[in-house]
Amino acid sequence: MALTDPAFVAIQVLNAFQLASLLFLLSVGLSVVFGLMNFINLAHGTLYMVGAYVGYAVAQASGSFWLALVLAPVAVALLGAILHWLLLARLQAANPMKQVLATFGLIFMGLDAVRWVWGSQSHGLEAPAGLDGSVTLLGQTYPVYRLFVIAVGAAVAVGLYLVLERTRLGARVRAGVDDRDMAAALGIDIGRLFFGVFCLGCGLAGLAGVVAAPVLSVYPGMNMSVLVLALIVVVVGGPGSLSGAVIGSLLIALVQTFGQVFAPALASVAIYAAMAIVLLVRPGGLIPLKGRS
């Protein structure tokens, strides 16, 4: 088992892509929201966990993974809308420390809420028929569902790219990230734009949760490690850009996956080392914001 075995390396790269797909779904919302409003939502990982639980509950009740895949992101996007109305709209003008504390508080409320509803034990969600098998790749068996996870992340990345780069609405979002005041002075309602982007980002976190559920199990606290990784992706990729989220997710997932294979004890250190190196070389992240210094 080493880097000299091409099949082994290929499998690990696929594993890294699968993790990158989940990290991308999580970090893209965090990143664009931060770019637009300088707002850090530490409860983003909690929304991922809620997405996994809602997906689990829908799949249990209906027997359909596909229904869960559709309903969980919608439910989490609605939860995001409620959070926005109750809390975040009031915090936007507040200082960053208040945002950090309030959304940090939501992490614990989220943990208690899922424990109260679903208990402390972990739950499994079955991959749906058709995606529950394996394929043979370079002489190794590989679960089809993992390829599906990669496909979901890639499809969302392409979809977001088309909206952001090819529509006027997307250009307005990028304009808001570049210079919020200037966008407002052209008549763009940044508050409404932010609300839409925030809810979409929450929905994608929910999608990440339900997509992750058949691979990782569903348990209270499943959000914590992934929140830290997503925050690192935002910092490494550079906040506010889609390409930053894509590249950051790939880099962190590769470091994490190969770190775990070759030096499990050092894997988490490797992530922080990668982040430190990137920030030393490019303090604004790999894709820094153009509008800011």
Binding site: R168, A171, A175, D178, D179, A184, A185, L186, G187, I188
Partner: protein, 233 residues
């Protein structure tokens, strides 16, 4: 009735009271210049009109309708286009996208992409270039064109000639003169006295946060105290 009527406008940065009871009017049609030394409070006055300073008070009316207290995007939609000192090109958008984000789907009347490209052919040539790659003159053309595309009733420009080469300044001046003959109302903040007075019908002079003089451009040179004391000329 004036197009823009500012009455008793105040603005603060933290505790420093930078705009102190400023009142002036911009008539419909023509160019009004807002002049004054560096630090007089001109930029802050414009930002207060646009709702871009946190702490402000006083009344701002556009064609009689109050716009003070409205969020910035609502002031813009009421019919004010603001081009800041920093120009405000979106660097990660192309020239065409910079223009497109400002278009609000007005009717057949008014400004279109073709018409602004006609006014600034240079922008048509560079339509697919990134906003961050433009020269200072191209940036200024872009932000004026973008402001026009909002089909605003009032164009507010903050030091459009700052840092530009003389040939580019002449080009911008010719364009603003054309817009004036087409009936556009403009509030022009300038340090370049000759540029501003060549265009403006009326002048408002600010000094230390207050309006010190207001009147027709020709009358300004009759008042050496204003010329010397508040404009340093």
């Amino acid at each position: 009735m004036s197009l823009l009527a500012v009455e008793g406008l105040n603005a603060w940065y933290d505790r420093s009271h930078v705009v102190q009871g400023v009142s002036f009017a911009v008539p419909e049609g023509g160019v009004t210049a807002l002049l004054g030394r560096n630090g007089a409070g001109k930029t802050t006055t414009l930002k207060a009109i646009m709702g871009l300073v946190r702490r402000r008070s006083g009344s701002v009316r556009l064609a009689g309708q109050p716009v003070d207290g409205l969020p910035t995007h609502a002031v813009a939609r009421a019919g004010v286009a603001y081009v800041p000192e920093t120009r405000g090109v979106f660097p990660s958008l192309t020239v065409r996208e910079n223009l497109a984000v400002a278009m609000r789907g007005a009717g057949a009347e008014g400004w279109t992409l073709e018409r602004v490209y006609g006014l600034f052919p240079r922008l048509a040539e560079r339509s697919e270039s990134g906003g961050g790659t433009l020269s200072g003159g191209e940036q200024q053309m872009l932000v004026i064109a973008r402001a026009l595309l909002t089909n605003a009733r009032l164009l507010i420009l903050d030091e459009p000639t700052e840092g530009l080469a003389p040939t580019v300044i002449r080009e911008i001046g010719a364009c603003l003169a054309t817009l004036k003959t087409e009936g556009l109302s403009t509030l022009l903040v300038e340090q370049n006295f000759a540029f501003a007075t060549a265009l403006a019908d009326r002048v408002v002079v600010m000094g230390k946060g207050r309006v010190r003089w207001e009147g027709e451009t020709e009358r300004l040179s009759d008042d050496p105290a204003v010329m010397h004391g508040w404009l340093g000329l």
